[in-house]
């Protein structure tokens, strides 16, 4: 007899033997945990066999369990293929949880303060085991989530699933899309690098444009926490990112999915008669039960998606981390995150208020009320030519605007600055300045000129010799003393000294050594770029000057010298002979311009891995 007032496990062991007693205990526990299915039921379900006992135990978890009570017990068989859902809704939901988990892991190592945020990132990348992978997964997952949620909306539009009675479901979905975008955007700032600061500065400046001015100014102040994004702004974005927006996301996900269940999943348009909604009336022979078919499918997609993310993050993708945020230094070619590029592109069309606020507001507003405007009954593609055309137009327009948002489009800097940038910019978006990946040992100290690359290899020595003589003799206006002239060599040396480059051996050009082919290649590229910009950088030559700064550190100075040309409205003026019109000094000589830039390269900086 048991000492307890009810039969205990030990009594069972005595009565039935250990093995049987343990098996029964496990069986009973599993049945309780699954709210209705024992081990045998699960085994049968996974084997694809029909249930062996009645009532059907596979419906029991839907009736009794918490997690499955919100899932339907069966689906229409026309709904369970890849078409029409493409599993986009499920994947969106999964990514919410994926982002939450990876995000919590990152929170453990992160402090939202400009003093330490960036060093926290370096710590995550260099000192926390698997830290880089988790960060990559979080970032890539976020980008994937924006994409998948957007595709989910596109799919819903094309299949006409927003139509009555699902108008409100569509509306909540649009809110979820916006929240997803803002979640991703608010996370952008947290690494506190240059990419973060400037992408968010651009984004926040759109908020500033909100009319009337008093609203825009105060909204801007509210989100930035000050005139500039600093400690307060970072903390606000952090709290938005980890608290407010996720809370809203969870609430609206709940509403959205509740509406999906209430109205049922809409069938492919051709499977229903026009005007009918049979989602909730699934004939017996069309039923596909959640357990096991849909459940295995969902778990499979979850596994495959995660595997793809892991593979991408291990071999192909690294979340970007640029230099420490610096409000004093605006990087060239700053862009908003890709999913907001369309707004940045629109801003280039003109008025900040209209294109930055009203236009995106119109598009989102129109999409939000679209189900209430489009009250046609048929969901079939052939009957919805206008709606589909309209939607494709929006997609095309947004795509074109996104392209226009790229740094390449519309924004121009002076060509010498652009070329310097191309040659030396620090790693950003998995690109890096052309010179940085040149192997360290090929950065041979010396003074090199693009004149070498415009001559054939045999004539290179002679060309450089002639060039040395040329810059020693060519007299150019002295920018410091009006009316007097100095040699071009003196002029360049002086400019380099202003940049604190000591030139102990003077400015004697030489050819690139034969064991530095990659340096030669970049010199060639440099020369080609100058040639391409000949209209603005007329008669230009470029120089690469490499010096040893420390034992394991080299300094690369770039020089461009050209004849200044007249520029009107940002375009060089071209004369009747097809040549650009030069700016001349009082003596009628071309104004020779010199521009320099420099960068340092450490032996272990490993830029080649990008």
């Amino acid at each position: 007899m048991s000492v307890l007032p009810f039969p205990s496990f030990l009594d069972d062991v005595k009565e039935k033997g250990l093995k049987k007693a343990v098996f029964e205990l496990v069986d009973e526990s599993v049945e309780r945990l699954t709210a209705g299915m024992n081990v045998q039921d699960i085994r049968e379900a996974l084997r694809g066999e029909p249930a062996s006992r009645k009532p059907n135990p596979r419906l029991q978890p839907h009736a009794d369990g918490f997690w499955l009570h919100m899932r339907p017990g069966y689906f229409h068989s026309d709904m369970t293929g890849l078409y029409p859902t493409f599993r986009l809704g499920w994947l969106s939901t999964y990514l919410v949880f994926f982002e939450t988990i990876t995000g919590i892991l990152l929170m453990v190592w992160y402090t939202p303060s400009p003093e330490v945020a960036y060093s926290d990132m370096l710590n995550i990348l260099g000192n926390v085991p698997m830290g880089q992978l988790v960060r990559d997964l979080h970032r890539l997952g976020a980008e994937a989530m924006v994409l998948i949620v957007a595709l989910h909306m596109v799919r819903t539009f094309f299949t006409g699933s927003y139509k009555k009675p699902r108008q409100f479901t569509w509306f909540t979905g649009l809110i979820l899309l916006a929240i997803t975008g803002f979640l991703s955007f608010s996370g952008y700032l947290l690494p506190w690098d240059q990419l973060a600061l400037w992408a968010v500065t651009i984004g926040a400046s759109m908020i500033e444009a909100t009319p009337p001015q008093i609203v825009g100014d105060n909204l801007n102040l509210l989100i930035r926490g000050g005139p500039e994004i600093a400690a307060n702004g970072l903390l606000r974005f952090y709290l938005l990112h980890v608290l407010l927006l996720p809370a809203l996301l969870f609430v609206f996900t709940g509403v959205h999915y509740y509406k999906v269940i209430v109205h049922g999943h809409s069938l492919p348009p051709r499977k229903e008669n026009i005007g009918e909604d049979t989602a909730k009336r699934v004939p017996l022979d069309k039923r596909v039960y959640f357990i096991p078919d849909v459940l295995t499918s969902e778990i499979m997609w979850l596994g495959v998606t995660t595997l793809i993310l892991v593979v991408l993050c291990i071999w192909f993708y690294d979340a970007p981390l640029e230099h420490h945020a610096d409000p004093q230094v605006t990087p060239l070619g700053t862009t908003a995150p890709w999913y907001f590029l369309w707004i940045q592109g629109a801003l280039k069309l003109g008025d900040k208020v209209f294109w930055g606020i009203i236009f995106p507001g119109l598009i989102l507003g129109l999409l939000a009320v679209w189900p209430y405007l489009d009250v046609t009954v048929s969901r079939r593609y052939a009957d919805r030519r206008f709606a589909i055309t309209f939607f494709l137009s929006i997609i095309s327009f947004v795509t074109i605007l996104s392209y226009m948002g790229l740094a390449e489009f519309g924004v121009r800097t002076s060509p010498d600055v652009e070329i310097f940038h191309e040659m030396t910019f620090p790693p950003a978006h998995n690109h890096v300045g052309k010179l940085l990946p040149v192997p360290y040992e090929q950065l041979v100290a010396g003074v090199y000129s693009t004149r070498q690359t415009s001559a054939s290899p045999e004539d290179a020595e002679a060309a450089i010799g002639a060039f040395n003589a040329e810059i020693e003799q060519q007299m150019v206006p002295d920018p410091l003393v009006a009316g007097s002239t100095i040699t071009l060599e003196e002029r360049v040396k002086r400019d380099l000294e202003v940049q604190h480059l000591p030139l102990p051996s003077g400015l004697t050009f030489r050819t690139v050594p034969s064991d530095a082919p990659e340096l030669l290649q970049q010199l060639q590229y440099f020369g080609d770029r100058l040639l391409a910009a000949n209209n603005e950088l007329y008669n230009a030559w470029g120089a690469i000057i490499i010096s040893q700064n420390q034992d394991n550190l080299k300094r690369i100075d770039l020089v461009i010298s050209w004849d200044e040309v007249k520029v009107e409205n940002g375009e060089p003026v071209v004369g009747a002979d097809g040549k650009p019109v030069l700016v001349l000094d009082v003596n009628g000589n071309p104004m020779r311009r010199v521009s320099t830039a420099h960068v340092f390269v450490h032996k272990d900086a490993a830029y080649f891995s990008h």
Binding site: G48, G303, V310, H500, H602, A605
Partner: protein, 392 residues
């Protein structure tokens, strides 16, 4: 179609799902195994890029005073790319020997000043002290001869370690970082072209802490460890200066003010020379009186207070003041020991070398350092005053 073939059947879905999970676990395990190496590589790369950033910052902000090569600029800033800055001693043996000898010297001097020390021992100590000084001079000459250029440039080979010279007990990195943070606020006192300013935003400068860190890494990247060469030492254009104790400087300024701008020099103890010099100086008995009674200081800023021992009307530790000159004229110079002495000669020698002649009945209690504490003028004033004591 792909879907129907591959995942239309439940067993295929289960297989694909299981494979995906297993594959993921294998990948994560593989990543975990490589994680140590990856983290090391990242840290190495990150440090390298930090040094690059530091180089750019140094070029813009620091090279103007510390030189583009970090070797310093004469009068502007000390070399950081310098064996002294990183504490490399080229002659550790000699440094140690000289330090040992100096320590011995300190011990001997202490022993000599003890009253228990016998005169014989004192003589032996004096001999050893002379020997030590010779040895130190020999060692220093032998060493300094090899690095004349650096010594001429202000390098002190006996104090080769910057951190020790500063009394810094933290790490070198900490010294660099803190110096960058707040600069050297008082260095305007010993650098002719201005003080090092604060560089961190914390202390009102322009740089963020991560930039300070980049700079510190760049500066430390000059460290050659044990591979420094004498050429590196000779290449240094400016060695570090150390802040000096301000008190002696202030005293010197006060002396200058007291002497009306003439740099006062101690009169010294070369009696023959002093007799000659003092003949051309007019003594002021009033100031002599004030000096004697500690109402003014000597031109070297010293309080003399002769009246502490030489009381006015009674003999104390020393003979009384009253009648001093009378006694000198009538008694002292008649002593056969003081043959050929003039009264002035006797007086000044008694002040400067008080142990040379003792008035009968008195101990040798007067300090022998007045030659270092007074100037020629002070001496003349004192003598002029004493000459007024010419009645018994």
């Amino acid at each position: 179609m792909f879907e129907r073939m591959l995942v239309g059947r439940i067993e295929n879905r289960v297989t694909v799902g299981v494979l995906a999970f297993v594959g993921m676990m294998v990948l994560l395990g593989w990543a975990a195994i490589n994680e140590g190496g990856r983290m090391q590589a990242f840290t190495k790369m990150e440090e390298a890029r930090s040094i690059e950033q530091g180089a750019a910052l140094f070029s813009i902000n620091c090279s103007r005073c510390h030189g583009t090569d970090g070797r310093g600029l004469a009068g502007f800033g000390p070399g950081l790319n310098s064996p002294q800055f990183f504490g490399y001693d080229f002659f550790p043996e000699i440094t140690k020997q000289i330090n040992d000898l100096s320590a011995e010297k300190v011990g001997l001097n202490a022993e000599k000043s003890l009253s228990a020390t016998t005169p014989e021992r004192k003589t032996a100590i004096d001999a050893r002290l002379v020997e030590i000084d010779t040895q130190i001079a020999e060692l220093a000459t032998q060493r300094n001869g090899q690095i004349t250029a650096a010594v001429d440039n202000g390098y002190d080979p006996q104090r080769p370690i910057r951190l020790n010279n500063l009394g810094w007990v933290g790490t070198q990195e900490a010294l660099i970082v803190t110096t960058l943070i707040h600069g050297r606020p008082t260095s305007i006192n010993y650098w002719p072209n201005g003080a090092m300013p604060a560089w961190s935003q914390t202390a009102g400068g322009p740089l963020r802490m991560d930039q300070i860190q980049d700079l510190a890494r760049y500066v430390q990247n000059w460290n050659k460890g044990d591979a420094w060469t004498l050429d590196d030492l000779f290449a240094v254009k400016q060695f570090a200066k150390e802040p000096v104790d301000g008190a002696p400087l202030m005293a010197l300024i006060e002396q200058l003010q007291a002497s009306g701008g003439v740099i006062p020099e101690p009169v010294g103890t070369d009696i023959t020379a002093v007799i000659e010099q003092v003949a051309s100086v007019t003594g002021d008995p009033v100031r002599g009186d004030q000096l004697y009674h500690n109402q003014v200081q000597s031109q070297l800023g010293q309080a003399l207070a002769c009246n502490g021992c030489h009381q006015q009307d009674v003999n104390g530790t020393g003979p009384m003041t009253k009648g001093t000159f009378f006694r000198v004229q009538n008694e002292r110079v008649n002593d056969p020991l003081l043959k050929d002495y003039t009264p002035e000669h006797y007086l000044l020698e008694s002040i400067l070398m008080p142990g040379n002649y003792l008035v009968p009945g008195f101990q040798n209690a007067m300090l022998p350092n007045f030659g270092e504490r007074i100037t020629l003028q002070d001496l003349a004033d004192l003598i002029a005053y004493i000459k007024t004591m010419d009645t018994p």
